[in-house]
Symmetry: C2
Subunit: 250 residues, 2 copies
């Protein structure tokens, strides 16, 4: 893929524990930041339960639409870990105990029994590459444009470090943040005009509460083109100076 083309991604979080609120997801924000930094645009996230049909449907919706889909969760040794089988079903390929994965698990559990539960972690769809797991050895995998990772954050992060350098990446999104020191509602109209005048630049406005000034705003300007970014940032700064002068006078 040429550096000018956009590479896109979705995340599919798999797990009843996220939907019940028992476990608070820590992976979405991490992966989002990681992908942005390397030049992959995260466009959508879905969270689905440990239900095969839901996983298959969501995966098929996402994998045809984005350059990559990253899944987290459901690749452990218990009955509720159904991600690998669901991914095989979505791709319409067979799945079986993978000798490479079995070798990794034998390495980890050299003394202990490689029982039925642990063997479950060696089920890998046909044609997938393994994604190594430096923490606990049981691998993730990569099939087509889908990368299947663990749900435990430290293991997921180790897997992402493994696949990251192998991903196609687009031109990086550049971002500048300008602290407005005004309320969002005082600059909204003018900011909208700047956004319309700079269609190749994305301008976001994020209110926050400042302990000294009260309600405040961060304006985030994003573009793949450094010159366009700089021009838009200058327009935002000029607007902020003008609005603040007006508010002070009025």
């Amino acid at each position: 893929m040429s550096p000018d083309q956009t590479v896109t991604a979705a995340i599919l979080v798999i797990g009843d524990e996220i939907l019940s609120g028992r476990t608070k997801d820590k992976n979405i924000g991490y992966i989002a930041e990681y992908l942005t930094a390397i030049g992959v645009d995260l466009r959508e996230v879905r969270v689905v339960p440990d239900v095969e049909e839901e996983i298959v449907d969501a995966l098929n919706a996402l994998r045809h639409r984005y350059s990559y889909v990253f899944t987290t969760g459901g690749i452990g040794p218990t009955h509720d870990d159904i991600t690998a089988d669901s991914v095989a079903k979505a791709f319409g390929v067979a799945i079986d105990y993978d000798p490479r994965a079995v070798a990794l698990l034998r390495q980890r559990f050299h003394g202990a029994e490689l029982n039925e539960a642990r063997m479950r972690m060696t089920r890998i769809p046909d044609g997938a590459d393994l994604v190594s797991n430096k923490i606990s050895l049981a691998p993730g995998f990569w099939i087509g444009n889908v990368i299947v990772m663990a749900g435990v954050p430290t293991i997921m992060q180790s897997m992402l470090d493994e696949v990251g350098p192998k991903l196609k990446t687009g031109k990086k999104m550049l971002a500048e943040s300008v602290r407005a020191d005004t309320k969002e509602g005082d600059i909204g109209t003018e900011l909208g005009e700047i956004a319309r005048a700079h269609p190749d630049v994305s301008i976001g406005s994020y209110p926050f509460f400042d302990d000294k000034l009260g309600p405040n705003t961060n304006v985030v300007i994003r573009s793949r083109d450094a010159d366009k970014l700089a021009t838009a940032k200058a327009a935002v700064e000029a607007m902020l100076a003008s609005v603040k002068a007006r508010l002070k006078a009025g």
Copy 2:
């Protein structure tokens, strides 16, 4: 809805800032826990960008499928706040400045100018009820089975407190957590057998790292039926005792 029927929900998180990783979502886990506590089953979550077509498509996919859809984000005063207009489009209804919302904003900005940007926060789709915002007054709204809330966590939480008591709720999901004090792979096979023997009970297995014991497991048993929950919990505890005795012996 009768107490035996299930009431379901989805969350639609709207915002480029979540997908870029700049802002880490704090609302999904909060809403998930809240809904579980009152007897509403969260079944799906999606995160989409500030793009009208994406919001409309996701909302229409979700609102026909679940009892409720809760949206967060995109109801502020700036050009990138397009949730209200997108919701009106999804429902095929008109949208305009709402006199009730205008009155609320006049109350907040009594001295200051109710400018074009702030007026944006008074755009409410036809037929919607307002959802009050005790923090900064600008309201959310409720149309059909869709509840539109702010993205700022404190404001979202205040809106959720407002709508919570008005929601239909099902029989509450009860949960028991059993700390296994064994590795997940040592109980996976047996746990799967218990799950198959107790089809009305959902059994989840969640590995965690224990500072004293090393790799450990929480088993979470969930059911709407207290008796079935107790029976399954007893089966899990008996299995754990038996596996631990075997491991000690072996």
